[in-house]
Amino acid sequence: MQLDFTLSFTETQWICFDDSIEILADSLEELDTSIEKHLRQKYQTGTFRIKMFFDFDRFPKWYRQYMPHYFNRDFTYNLN
């Protein structure tokens, strides 16, 4: 199963969300752990391809002219 998330950032925390869930964490590692926990609760087992797309609008306007992309993530969880 593939799940697409939007990735964003506040002053101090990473935010990952889709239409049904929003997860906040201090680091990406913590974020990944929370996602895994969420997947276990919701689906128990399975293989999940996670795609995260960073929302570039989180950067200040003046900054966006230099590079229009931060990063996307693509990883797989095997919860079997």
Binding site: T6, S8, F9, E11, L28, E29, D32, E36, I50, F53, F54, D55, F56, D57, R58, F59, P60, K61, W62, Y63, R64, Q65, Y66, M67, P68, H69, Y70, F71, N72, R73, D74, F75, T76, Y77, N78
Partner: protein
């Protein structure tokens, strides 16, 4: 609203990078209409050489401004200027709309920037600042106006004046700067100008194909060698002597040694650093780029007046951000061509030194996407914890970080090459419009860049960044600049611009 790069065509209508390509290609297309005898670009206003006393005795706008082609010579100079304003305001406002800028604020800011730019451009053409004491196109302006003194800076004075005015606004009139900042987009303006420079490169290839290819290849080799040296040295110094953590050292290394702000964002993205890190580095890059822009063109011109292409290539590897590099290259081009004419009565063709600076920078811009990808793979494998998940780096990351304006620059160049090889009969007509677009249009975009880059540079932002500032200063002036010059010399020495005809 979110901006997500999901598909290969994401951002085509919303990023300044793509809009540089669209705007540049649109102007290029307008210029090409001259192939069929249609002059669709000659209306653009351009400044004329003028003398202060002469103007005061008998004021006339026609002494200051003219249209770019004789087809439109019947237009009053102010009408030509008004048409120029309307065309550029409308086209860039459309771009601003799609880039999600505040269009009202943009138009207000652009109008002010347009007026100041033209003021600086016109003043820059006053003969005491610009005229060279030598015969050019059959006349010596020093003798025509009976001048007793002159700075002999060519078009360089206008560039420097626009930059100075921008810096004064950005640092002493910050409230005003904030009001017009929406339209101060140096990267957009300069990337559009670089696309138009593709026409110049095409024309230069017609005159000296071998030399142009050699210049492009030497630029690629130099950029590649230089960055294999720069990045690890700065990273090592940052970690060893300045005790930076891995993320900060990596982002700063890219900022100092590759291509400034865009490299620091790309690197930070590759190693998934918190966004605050590249934003802090960006502040350093922008302020130091200003020092480079102000200091290096005069320094190179005076220290190595007989190494024009080496100087241009070194500039491309040393000055960070496309805007500052192209601006520095443009000043260097003006200063070196003027100095050579003044001291040796030899007229180098304009544009080659600037092209040397741009070509090395373009290779660097291409290099950053690939380098970020490699770094991301290294980081995931060696630095990040990856016990439970299997992460891969999408190949699309290279594409999303690839500077799209370079595609337009290359396309324009290749179209000229295509015409040269397959349709040589239409070249003369194509160059009629092409000369105006790569001349007046491009120089106007450069002028906008100079003013805008000054407006957005705020030196006070260096406060509180002591350790990083010190590392940046040492890295730039003690490591990057000397190595860049050495590498530029190795790959470019002996290369000289063709003489102007």
């Amino acid at each position: 609203m979110s901006t997500l790069n999901k598909k290969w065509y994401s951002g085509m209508s919303s990023t300044e990078d793509w809009w540089s390509a669209w705007l540049g290609l649109f102007f290029f297309g307008l210029g090409l209409l001259s192939i069929w005898g249609l002059d669709a670009v000659g209306w653009i206003a351009k400044p004329k050489a003028w003398e202060f006393t002469n103007l005061m005795q008998d004021f006339s706008w026609s002494k200051l401004i003219k249209t770019s082609s004789k087809e439109y010579a019947h237009l009053h100079p102010l009408v030509s200027l008004l048409v120029t304003y309307i065309v550029f305001t409308v086209l860039t406002s459309i771009g601003a709309h799609f880039q999600k800028l505040n269009v009202k604020k943009y138009i207000y800011g652009f109008t002010i920037i347009f007026l100041i730019t033209w003021f600086a451009w016109i003043v820059g053409y006053e003969v005491h600042f610009s005229a060279i004491n030598a015969v050019l196109k059959g006349k010596n302006l020093f003798e025509v106006y009976d001048l007793t003194w002159g700075l002999q800076l060519g078009g360089g004075f206008g560039f420097m004046l626009a930059l100075t005015i921008g810096l004064i606004i950005g640092n002493f009139f910050k409230g005003f700067a904030n009001k017009i900042r929406e339209a101060a987009k140096p990267e957009w303006f300069i990337k559009t100008a670089i696309v138009l420079l593709g026409i110049k490169l095409g024309m230069m290839t017609m005159k000296a194909a071998g030399f142009t290819y050699e210049l492009a290849l030497a630029g690629a080799a130099a950029a590649f060698v230089a960055y294999l040296l720069f990045w690890p040295i700065i990273y090592y110094v940052g970690r060893k002597f300045f005790k930076l953590n891995r993320s900060s050292a990596a982002v700063l290394s890219s900022g100092i040694s590759i291509c400034g702000v865009s490299a620091s964002i790309a690197t930070a993205g590759a190693i998934k650093a918190k966004p605050i890190i590249p934003i802090a580095v960006a502040t350093l890059v922008l302020v130091f780029a200003m020092f480079e822009l102000v200091l290096l063109p005069s320094f190179y011109t005076n220290v190595a007046p007989n190494q024009p292409i080496v100087n241009g290539a070194a500039m491309g590897m040393t000055v960070k951000t496309d805007g500052a590099d192209a601006a520095a290259g443009a000043i260097l081009d003006e200063l070196m061509v003027s100095k050579q004419l003044k001291t040796n009565d030899v007229k180098w063709e304009e544009g080659w030194i600037l092209s040397a600076a741009i070509l090395t920078k373009i290779w660097i811009d291409i290099f950053i996407g690939i380098w970020s990808f490699v770094l991301a793979v290294i980081w995931i494998r060696n630095v990040e914890n990856k016990k439970k998940k299997k992460e891969k780096i999408p190949w699309s990351e290279i594409w999303f970080r690839f500077p799209k304006f370079i595609l337009a620059y290359m396309l324009v160049w290749f179209i000229y090459l295509g015409m040269m090889y397959f349709f040589p009969d239409i070249l003369d007509n194509a160059q009629v419009g092409g000369n105006i677009v790569q001349g007046t249009f491009r120089k106007f975009m450069f002028m906008l860049t100079f003013l805008s880059i000054g407006i957005i540079t705020d030196f006070s932002k260096l406060k509180g960044m002591g350790r990083l500032t010190l590392l940046y200063a040492i890295g730039l002036f003690a490591i990057i600049a000397p190595i860049a010059y050495l590498v530029a010399y190795i790959f470019h020495h002996g290369m000289m611009p063709p003489l102007a005809q």
